[in-house]
Assembly symmetry: C3
Homo-oligomer: 160 residues x 3
Amino acid sequence: MSDERTIQQVLAKYVRGADRRDGAAVAELFTDDGKVEIFYSNSGNPEPMGEIVGPGPIATAVSQMMRPHPPGGWSHHTTHDPIIEVIGDRATLDAQFIVFSVQAKEKPEGGWPADALGVQGSVTPIESGYYRPILHRVGGGWKIQTLRIVMDMPIAFPRH
Amino acid sequence: MSDERTIQQVLAKYVRGADRRDGAAVAELFTDDGKVEIFYSNSGNPEPMGEIVGPGPIATAVSQMMRPHPPGGWSHHTTHDPIIEVIGDRATLDAQFIVFSVQAKEKPEGGWPADALGVQGSVTPIESGYYRPILHRVGGGWKIQTLRIVMDMPIAFPRH
Amino acid sequence: MSDERTIQQVLAKYVRGADRRDGAAVAELFTDDGKVEIFYSNSGNPEPMGEIVGPGPIATAVSQMMRPHPPGGWSHHTTHDPIIEVIGDRATLDAQFIVFSVQAKEKPEGGWPADALGVQGSVTPIESGYYRPILHRVGGGWKIQTLRIVMDMPIAFPRH
C-alpha cells in the first residue's frame, strides 16, 4: 500500500474513533509524544482553543469530553480532498472536514404512523474546518505526531 | 492502478449507478452470486431490514424500488474515508456515506424574479451510514460479493 | 506518487483555491489553453451557463466573480468518489461535488451568552453537481485542460 493511501487510512481511523467516542482507538494513532492542537480560524487570524498532549490525555478527551451520542444519535466526521506531502519519514496532510449529526426517530410502540414513509430521522452538518496532521513513519506504518485542527467556527464552553 | 484505487472506483461506480437509478450499471459491479444486505444500526444492535440476492434482483431494486427523481430533482450518494484491506483475492472496504437530495427550482416562464440571485434550489442531507462491501478479484478487476449497508436511521415502508 | 493520486490532488488544490478566492492559485492548475465550461444539468439536457478561456480570465473569475466571504463566513467545495481514467498523457476525472457555506457567529463583547454551548454558527450545503476535468500530463505532473462543471441547479444572475 502506498504511503499516501496508508496516511489517508490513519485519518479514516481517526474519524471512526471520534464517531465511536473510542479514546483508546484514537490514541493508538498517535506517536508517544503525539498531540492535538485546536484552533478557531477567525478569518485568517487563528486563535488557539486548546491543546492536548500525549496519547493518555487524547484518549480521555475523546472518551470523556466529546458529548456522548443521545439515544438514536450518531455522528459522521467526514474528510475531503486530502493534499499529502511525504518527505522521507515525515508527512503532512491537509484535509477539509465536515461533521454531520444524525438523529434517528424512535419507532413508536404501535409501529410507524400510517403517513410515515422513508427514512425516519435527520442528518445535519454542524461543524467544519481543516485537519492538518503531521505524521511520522513508525515501523512499517505512519502515526500522527501533531494533529492541528482548524475549526471554521468558535466554540462556547460551559461556564462554571 | 493499485488494488485500493480500483476498489474505491467500484464503490464510486456503485453510487453513480444508484443516483442514476441505473440498475444494469449497478448489477454489473457484483459477482454472479452477489448480494446486498441492508441493516439499521439501531445503536449497535443491527436490525436486518432487507436482503437482495443476485444481480437480476439487484438491478430491479435499483431501477424500480428506489424512488424516481422528481422534475428538477437529483441525488448524490457520497462516500468518505474508506478503510480498505486486501488479502490475496479478497478485500473489505468500510466507507461512511451521506446521501444528499437536490431539488432545483423551475425557471418561471418570464425568467427569474428580480430579487432571485445565485443558485436556485436546495441541497439536503437525508440519509447516512456505512457501506461495508466484501469484494472478490475477478479477472483483472474487483467485484462486490456482498454489500452490507448499515443505515443510521430506520425506514418506514408503505402499508398495504 | 501515482498518476491517480496526483490527479486527485490537482482537484484538491482547485477547491482550496476556490474557497480562498485565490485566482492565481487556481489558474496555475490549468494548461496555457485551459478553460472552464459551466453547465446546468437540466434533467439530462445540459444547458451551457458560461465558459471562461485562459488562465488569466480564470484567475479573474475566481478572484472577482465569486462572492467574497462575509465576516465569519467561509466555504468548503468538497469532492467525492472520483472516477479516473489515465490514457498515456491524457486523463479524465469525474467527481461529485457539494459546496457548503459556513457562517460563524461573532462573539459578543461581553462573551457568549450563558446558554450558548458548543459550536457557534452554521454549516449549510448550497450547491452540488459534478466536476469533469480533462487533464494533460505536463512536465512531471498534470494540469487541467478543460474543467467541465455540471451543476444540479440553475443560477439566477443579477439583472442590469
